[in-house]
């Protein structure tokens, strides 16, 4: 295995393009090293992106958009007050990944590129409308987070493409988001169902909403009918019932010992209600 430490994402991409064997990009390594250890993936070329300037930075741009470097670890996100105030749902999703030790290394982009349908940070990123910069042989393109997952362990990234950064839009007035997951224990587990809700209010009325489910289909699911159930409402009982029904209807889960199809489908509705209430309270100023 060759270990590379490129100084730019263009160089990182070029190494991957030129490679004939298996390549992996290394940021936090909490998935890549486990796969190497288990002989699931044996890279011929391992490209460590952590020597590229800016990969550890969290920056609020002039337009109030948040720019997060590709190697920023979960623990660094959780400790960032401004980011936690603007996007608490995104941060609580990432904060649920693994242990304190894993949080010291694991990254948002790693969670996204690992391609797990149960990745805890991805539903809230998608609900927030987050985008990533993809650097590849044909240049750089901006892609919505929701368009990256292609199935379990797969992404829409082409050979040689690498994600260089992630961008959360300006929070703006009256916004709130939340993420909840179900696991059979209290900590250190993988989501059986996850649900993120991001919304905006004017007064008590919801004017914008996005609802995204995790772990109930081969990829995350953006549930447009669930958003429609919320928009225009004051999160009354009727809206909550319609939200839960839409969330459950969007589920196409696997059936396994961690959660049956019926269970996951039902719990998606329950979590959607609860996450919507938290996001609604946050949007109206309760923290």
């Amino acid at each position: 295995m060759r270990y590379h430490t490129p100084a730019t994402f263009e160089d990182a991409s070029a190494i991957a393009v030129a490679a004939s064997g298996v390549t992996r990009f290394l940021a936090g390594g909490t998935d890549v090293l486990v796969q190497m250890r288990a002989d699931i993936v044996t890279p011929d070329d391992l490209i460590d992106i952590k020597h590229i300037p800016g990969v550890k930075d969290i920056v609020q741009e002039d337009d109030m958009c948040w720019s997060i470097g590709a190697a920023v670890a979960g623990a660094e996100l959780t400790a960032h007050e401004g980011l936690c105030a603007d996007w608490p749902g995104v941060i609580e999703g990432m904060g649920l990944v693994g242990s304190t030790q894993v949080q010291g290394r694991a990254t948002l982009i790693g969670n996204l590129c690992n391609g797990s349908p149960a990745a805890d940070s991805v539903p809230a990123l998608a609900a927030a409308g987050a985008e990533v910069s993809v650097v590849g042989p044909k240049g750089t393109r901006q892609v919505k987070v929701a368009d990256i997952p292609a199935g379990p362990g797969r992404t829409t990234l082409a050979k040689g493409e690498v994600i260089s950064g992630i961008y959360l839009p300006p929070r703006g007035k009256g916004g709130g988001d939340a993420y909840l997951r179900f696991i059979p224990r209290t900590e250190m587990d993988i989501a059986v169902v996850g649900c993120a809700v991001n919304l905006r209010v004017e007064g008590d009325k919801i004017t914008e909403a996005c609802v995204v489910l995790g772990a109930v289909a081969p990829t995350i699911v953006v549930v447009e009918d669930a958003a429609k159930a919320l928009i225009g409402s004051t999160l009354d009982a009727k809206a909550l019932d319609a939200l839960a029904a839409a969330a459950s209807a969007a589920c196409r889960p696997i059936n396994d010992k961690r959660g049956t199809i019926a269970f996951r489908t039902d719990v998606a509705g329950v979590l959607a209600r609860r996450a919507a209430k938290i996001a609604y309270d946050r949007a109206r100023g309760a923290k």
Partner: protein
């Protein structure tokens, strides 16, 4: 296989070693530097027995490559005692009998030290969540948590 020369700092001392890029930091600490405090339990980041800090951040050394340690500051359990004088956490682990087989103990000590560095007065719940990535199959955790909270209390008093 090409070996890569790595210079890093472990417990305040500059050290050098040659690493195959596939070798983990845990392998390098144990096999090249003779520091066998960090243990390999699972090798996949689930058990925490290999916990060390890298630039002050708690990590599993089985999930870090040795070559990634270049230029970093590593702290391991070997750096906790000052000569014969045990760290308060080490003393309290003995007083509370917070270990049996001892495999998990170095990782838990390093993890608990990292907790107290950022939160000198953790609640029991905070301590349990912080240490959720450190598995112990002997003690049932209760004595570990008591030892950590007792050490925290003593360290706050500056004894």
């Amino acid at each position: 296989m090409t070996q890569i020369h790595v210079t890093t700092t472990v417990n305040g001392d500059e050290v050098e070693f040659l690493a195959d890029p596939r070798e983990t930091l845990l392998d390098c600490l144990r096999d090249k530097l003779g520091m066998t405090g960090a243990k390999e339990g699972c090798g996949t980041g689930d058990c925490g027995a290999c916990s060390v800090t890298v630039d002050g951040r708690l990590v599993c050394s089985c999930l870090v490559l040795g070559v990634e340690a270049e230029g970093k500051k590593i702290e391991t359990v070997e750096g906790m005692a000052e000569g014969e004088k045990l760290h308060p956490l080490q003393r309290k682990f003995i007083e509370h009998a917070a270990l049996q087989c001892g495999i998990c103990t170095p990782g838990i000590l390093v993890a608990a030290k990292a907790l107290l560095a950022q939160n000198p007065d953790p609640t029991e719940e905070e301590a349990r969540y912080w240490l959720a990535g450190n598995l112990c199959r002997c003690t049932g955790y209760d004595k570990i948590i008591r030892a950590v909270l007792d050490a925290a209390a003593e360290m706050r008093e500056g004894v």
